[in-house]
């Protein structure tokens, strides 16, 4: 038996929508197989992993908290990947955003009135965008591949954050723990009621709405799609690919930075070495699962959020490592990519010719 790809005459509309569902389905089946290999009841394990997180109000709240940064970063990356700009350093931009935004409450702790929040968010976005400007500059000025530079900068950002948190920004009254002072008043993001859902979720929704309009209704969105799918045609149309690199990296970096400061000023309330559980990398999967489409990213962000919660729940209820969540996320991305082949190709299995 041989597997052969046969190009379709045009992109399959049906498969464009079916492929992510298929990928999720296949991931669940693979999950069931893995769970039963681990000696667990697959039905119960899948229930704990993927259903329980959406059955209770408190866990739904937690889901929104987890999905917000994923969506914020994911929509930015979706635009990037559309334009064939490979920013994979969102985790570093998130860290920088968190650092920039935290500068105000840490260095000027008495400033607790409303403007501080606006300034913090602005600084967060600025930090992320500035950090993403480094690979953008290197790519446009010297032609250096942005994949490797943006990724290397993740490690550097985490080391810078580590230095600040263990060094000058450590809480003097914090018993030597590596964390900053607790934020107060408007230094913390407002929450929905007394719950955990914070302003970051609202910002994520705004980002999705704005980018949806930009991508589908404006010239800029058209430019992104043309430069991404047919760079030569883009050049003839007068679209500058350098400008596109800048636009994509600043946009996605800014959004990642915003997600970073929202994490610090939202759920955690202080700066600490572990700012995010790898949201910047998971957002890559979110962008692909969401079809590189802002609205799709919203749905995908929620689904990947479930996998984080499921990982935590599985650790408590089933006694398995919460790192299985990361494995599921990786498997999911594989299946998405594999299923996307069906959009452009038909798959045929051929028997070997005997002649």
């Amino acid at each position: 038996m041989r597997l052969v790809l046969e190009r379709r005459a045009e992109r399959s509309k049906l498969m464009t929508w079916l492929s992510p569902l298929l990928a999720v389905g296949l991931t669940l089946v693979t999950g069931a197989v893995i769970f039963s290999l681990m000696g667990l009841d697959p039905a119960r394990a899948l229930y704990v992993y993927f259903l329980e997180p959406v059955l209770w109000w408190w866990s739904l709240e937690e889901l929104v908290v987890k999905a917000a940064p994923l969506v914020l970063i994911g929509v930015g990356l979706a635009v990037c990947f559309r334009a064939n700009v490979w920013n994979i350093g969102a985790e570093g931009q998130l860290t920088m955003g968190a650092l920039f935004g935290s500068a105000l409450p840490i260095l000027w702790h008495e400033f607790q009135s409303f403007p501080v929040m606006v300034l913090m968010l602005a600084l967060g976005a600025l930090g992320g965008a500035l950090y993403a400007a480094i690979p953008a500059f290197l790519r446009t000025r010297f032609g250096t591949n942005e994949i490797l530079t943006s990724l290397m900068l993740v490690y550097v950002a985490q080391l810078i954050a580590d230095w600040f948190i263990r060094g000058p920004w450590r809480d003097p009254a914090g018993f030597n723990f590596p964390k900053s002072v607790q934020f107060e008043g408007w230094q913390l993001l407002p929450t929905l009621g007394d719950g955990r859902i914070h302003l970051g979720a609202g910002l994520a929704l705004v980002a999705v709405a704005v980018l949806y309009v930009v991508m589908s209704r404006t010239l800029k969105g058209f430019e992104v799609r043309v430069v991404g799918t047919a760079p030569r045609a883009g050049t003839f149309a007068g679209f500058s690919s350098k400008r596109m690199v800048w636009f994509c990296l600043l946009l996605s970096g800014g959004l990642a930075g915003l997600a970073g400061i929202c994490e610090v000023a939202g759920p955690s309330g202080h700066l600490q070495p572990a700012i995010s559980p790898g949201y910047g990398f998971t957002a890559i999967i979110v962008a692909f699962l969401g079809r590189l489409n802002p609205v799709g990213v919203l749905v995908a962000g929620v689904m990947l959020g479930i996998s984080y919660l499921g990982g935590e729940a599985a650790q408590i209820d089933l006694g398995i490592s919460d790192k299985t969540a990361q494995v599921f996320q990786g498997i999911l991305l594989f299946f998405i990519l594999a299923c996307d082949t069906l959009i452009l190709y038909r798959i045929r299995l051929l028997r070997p010719h005997t002649a």
Partner: protein, 306 residues
């Protein structure tokens, strides 16, 4: 042991994993495939190598397990990018994300356990020569393997028919296909070789460099290996120079830390990453140098028409 001797010995251990991973990726890229999953294959190789060596007590079985694990991961990548024609950049990222997660799960029960160290070969008589002896003849088998691989790859790529076919496939897959070469099969072979090398590099980390398992212990070495291939402009012997340059930088950071120079440890730890960026910039500035040697079809998918 003199100070200089110790420095050289540690530089060798720091450079070997980079060299192993980079020489494998070089062959992959020469065949026109960009596998960004080096970090993932390496970390799975590291954990499988450690786990096998710990359970069986034999570091050599550990090395074998690391190689097989790396190849297994590479096969996954090969199936996706070659048989299903998926985007190579995205598939490579997927491989790295999966590898980091998988190694975390496999390695959880092995964290903090004492490892099995791959012992140096200590070639008799020769390794007793002062200074040069331990450096040249007192290494473990993987260090020698890494050098052998550089020469083998260098020779194969420039002097043999196999190398010519690999380069043809990487430079123009349509022509190679028209000439009757099985582009997909050649690329599968190269991808598997790259996986084996990355697995070997991972096994070296967890069996020789620091014989233990620490989560994410590759700490970006897979990505640096990718940068090394660009630095070497896809020429095998330059990978050797690059790997040792980076190994030296890595070790200098550690020594400076130990000496307690008034620089924060974080600054020193960030050196390898910053130097990688610097080197990439310097190389990519020279457009002609990169243009001449870059495999023309790198990263492009190929679907043979029937």
């Amino acid at each position: 042991m003199t100070g200089l001797e110790a420095v050289i010995l540690t530089i060798i251990t720091a450079s070997t994993p980079l060299l192993l991973a980079a020489i494998g990726e070089l062959v992959v890229e020469r065949s026109g495939v960009l596998n960004l999953g080096v970090e993932g294959m390496m970390v799975v190789g590291a954990v499988c190598g450690f786990a096998t060596a710990y359970t069986t007590g034999s570091p050599y079985l550990g090395v074998l397990a690391g190689v097989l694990a790396g190849m297994g991961m590479a096969l996954l990548f090969g199936f996706l990018t070659q048989s299903l024609a998926t985007n190579q950049v995205a598939s490579g990222l997927a491989l790295t994300l999966l590898g980091l997660g998988l190694s975390g799960v496999i390695g959880e029960s092995f964290t903090g356990l004492p490892g099995v160290k791959l012992q140096p070969l200590d070639i008799p008589v020769l390794s007793d020569i002062p200074f040069l002896g331990p450096i040249l003849f007192g290494q473990d088998v993987l260090v020698y393997t890494s050098f052998a691989l550089v020469f083998a790859v260098s020779y194969t790529m420039s002097r043999t028919r196999t190398g010519l076919v690999i380069r043809a496939v990487g430079d123009n897959h349509h022509s190679a296909h028209a000439l009757g070469y099985n582009v997909i099969a050649v690329r599968y072979g190269c991808i598997l070789f790259g996986g084996a090398c990355a697995g070997l590099a991972g096994a070296y980390l967890s069996l020789a460099y620091t014989p233990q398992w620490v989560e994410n212990m590759t700490s970006g070495r897979g990505w640096i290996a990718l940068a090394l291939v660009v630095f070497a402009t896809w020429i095998a012997r330059r990978v050797l120079i690059g790997a040792y340059l980076f190994g030296a930088v890595w070790i200098m950071g550690l020594y400076a830390q130990a000496l307690g120079i008034g620089i924060p440890s974080q600054v020193l730890s960030s050196f390898p990453y910053l130097i990688t960026i610097l080197v990439l910039v310097l190389i990519s500035r020279n457009r002609t140098l990169t243009k001449i040697n870059t495999p023309a079809c790198i990263g492009q998918t190929f679907v043979p028409d029937r």
